[in-house]
Symmetry: C2
Subunit: 231 residues, 2 copies
């Protein structure tokens, strides 16, 4: 992890969190003066579950995984953290501890903003507060849907969901590099890694996807969606 401010100011930053649009020039300045940047190499831990939440995290570039360290050291991957997004678990407003860990997958450039400043802005700027509530609510709604999907869908449906997530949300492309290992794909879909391998193969055999261990290409999107919905 190296710490040098490469970004000149929040005002001109192209990766800025869109909710900052609700801040006044002075408020944005306050943010700018209370932030620091850091870069991380693949594999490095950016935030550690259980540690104090002294900062809100924003991704400027790269990709990371957010995950909960669960029972018997078994991880549960929540999402892929992407540039422009606020990465802040609910713990910030509950017990001042990170609810989940974040680890870099690719090289990551991140921006940490002092949480007390952030909290203060929420208190004094109603529109900003509302936009934060919208952001939190959207994540919360996704989590609820995910919980139901994980509970009610079988492996094929769960894996299809995740393949579509990468295509629609992460890469916005039908073809992409699978940046997670089979093990990690399992931690995201609640499957054993062997099952991930087998079902990927099934999907390839039936012509729904093309898969070359590190590359995924969705060939029959309609069918994949049907698999996802059927459970």
């Amino acid at each position: 992890m190296s710490v040098v401010n490469l970004i000149n100011s929040c005002e001109t930053c192209t990766h800025r969190w869109k909710n900052f649009q609700h801040l006044t020039k002075e408020e944005l300045n306050l943010v700018n003066e209370n932030r620091y940047e850091a870069t991380f190499k693949p594999g490095e831990t950016i935030m550690k579950q259980g540690s104090p939440t002294s900062n809100a995290l924003f991704m400027a570039s790269g990709m990371a995984k957010t995950y909960i360290e669960g029972l018997n050291g078994k991880n549960f991957i929540l999402s892929i953290a992407l540039p422009g997004r606020l990465i802040m678990g609910p713990g910030s407003y509950v017990d001042s501890r990170h609810t989940y860990s974040v680890a870099a997958i690719t090289a990551v450039q991140a921006c940490f903003i002092n949480f007390e400043i952030f909290r203060q802005l929420v208190r004094i700027n109603g529109a900003f507060a509302e936009s934060l509530i919208e952001d939190i609510s959207a994540k919360s709604q996704l989590t609820l849907k995910r919980m139901v999907s994980l509970s009610q869908k079988k492996m094929h449906g769960r894996l299809a969901d995740t393949l579509l997530y990468f295509s629609d949300v992460v890469f916005k492309n039908a073809e992409y590099e699978m940046i997670l290992s089979r093990q990690e794909l399992g931690e995201m879909t609640n499957m054993a890694k062997e099952c991930v391998v087998r079902i990927l193969k099934e999907l390839e055999d039936s012509g729904v996807i093309y898969s070359d261990s590190s590359k995924i290409k969705i060939l029959d999107r309609e069918k994949l969606i049907r698999i996802s919905e059927k459970g």
Copy 2:
């Protein structure tokens, strides 16, 4: 459902949501003038998943279940709604649709507050906004933990969790009336109702609980906690 205002005013209401303490007298008055009460009989639907979120709901008395209607008409019970709590899904701030349904289990007295008024108060009162964020965050954190538990624990652990939830959160007592049917317990723990029956019996045979179909008594709390943690 019958609609008559029995509660005189928010100011003196004993079941008032604790976050309303952050409102000024005038703001609380605004709430009071934009609410209506309703009572529900057991089984009646209080909020329907997918319908527009024109109101925030508060329970004044009674108990209800909040649940998501998932795949193939299979329900997933999220929680037991209790007096004094805000019942508002993330959908209010995302797509203006209820994310989950709510149905009365016992007789329920509920208070509906105009959502536009609620939203306005969030915008103009920073402390109130912050307390709402804390409330939402606490629920969100519970959901994340629940998702991991459901994914990583086996049936015994999941059922133990739910029995402890009723004891610690809902009734605050080691002995209680099980207000959910076996079927519903299954919808809460992601188990088939037959498995709920079998494992309850196992727990009774091993002296951890006493169970008389409608009554539950936790006899060996330590052991139940161990079962919950072991998975």
